[in-house]
Subunit: 98 residues, 2 copies
DNA sequence: CTTACATTAGACAATTATTGACAAGTCAAT
DNA sequence: ATTGACTTGTCAATAATTGTCTAATGTAAG
C-alpha cells in the first residue's frame, strides 16, 4: 500500500473530504488529490497533521512515507530486489559501526 | 559499501588519480572527491563511463548507485529496517500486479 | 437534464534542492 | 619550501519539486 493510497483509505473511513485535509495542511484540494494519487509528495511536516486528522499512528505514516520514496527510486529499475538487498546489507553494516 | 567508497577502491586498484576520473566525467577534481566521499551524487550518465575506466560492471555500479540513495533516505530515520521491509512488501505487491 | 459539489488534469509560478566551479586549504613526500 | 593529490567552504547556475489557478470530468440528487 502506497502512502497516498493509505491516506485516501483512512480519509474515506473517517468520512472526510479532500478539502478538509487540504485546508488543514494549508494546500489546495488539487494538491491533496495529487498526494493521494502519489503524483506529488506530501511534506514531512504534514505527517503529524494527517495522523491526527485520520486517527492514525505517526510512526506508521512516517514508515510508509519513506518506503514510498524507496518505491519511487526502484520503480524504473531493472532489478529492484537486488538493489534493496544491497541497501539492506549496507544498513546492517551501519549498525555494526555505530 | 557505499557507491563512492567503491569507486575510490576501484580507482586505487587501477592506480588512477581523481583528476583522471574527473576529466573523463568532465567535472573538476573537487567534485570527484565529493562523489567518492558520498558528499555529492554522481550523475546517472557517469556510471557507464566510470565502469569502463574502472573495469567494473555497469550493472554492479548501478545497483550500488541506487542502493546508495536508499541509504541516504534511511540514514536519518528511526527504524530503517521497518521501512525497508515495508518497501519490500510493496515491491513484491507490484510484481503481482504486472 | 441541470445543478451542486467532489475530484482530477494541465499549465505555469514559486520555492527548494542539487550540481558544479572556483579559490583556498591540508597533508605527505621530497 | 615546493610540488602534487586531495579536501573544504562558499556561491552561482541549474534542475527538480511543490503549489496555485483554471478548466475539465465525474457523480449523485432533485
Amino acid at each position: 500500500m502506497r502512502f497516498g493510497e493509505h491516506i485516501r483509505q483512512l480519509r474515506e473511513q473517517n468520512k472526510l473530504l479532500l478539502r478538509h485535509l487540504a485546508s488543514e495542511l494549508d494546500i489546495d484540494t488539487a494538491m491533496m488529490s495529487k498526494i493521494e494519487r502519489s503524483e506529488r509528495k506530501a511534506k514531512r511536516e504534514h505527517i503529524p497533521q494527517l495522523a491526527k486528522l485520520l486517527r492514525a499512528s505517526v510512526t506508521e505514516l512516517q514508515t510508509l512515507y519513506i518506503a514510498d520514496q524507496i518505491i519511487e527510486l526502484l520503480d524504473d529499475e531493472e532489478n529492484p530486489r537486488a538493489i534493496l538487498y544491497a541497501a539492506e546489507k549496507e544498513i546492517n553494516q551501519m549498525k555494526k559501526d555505530s
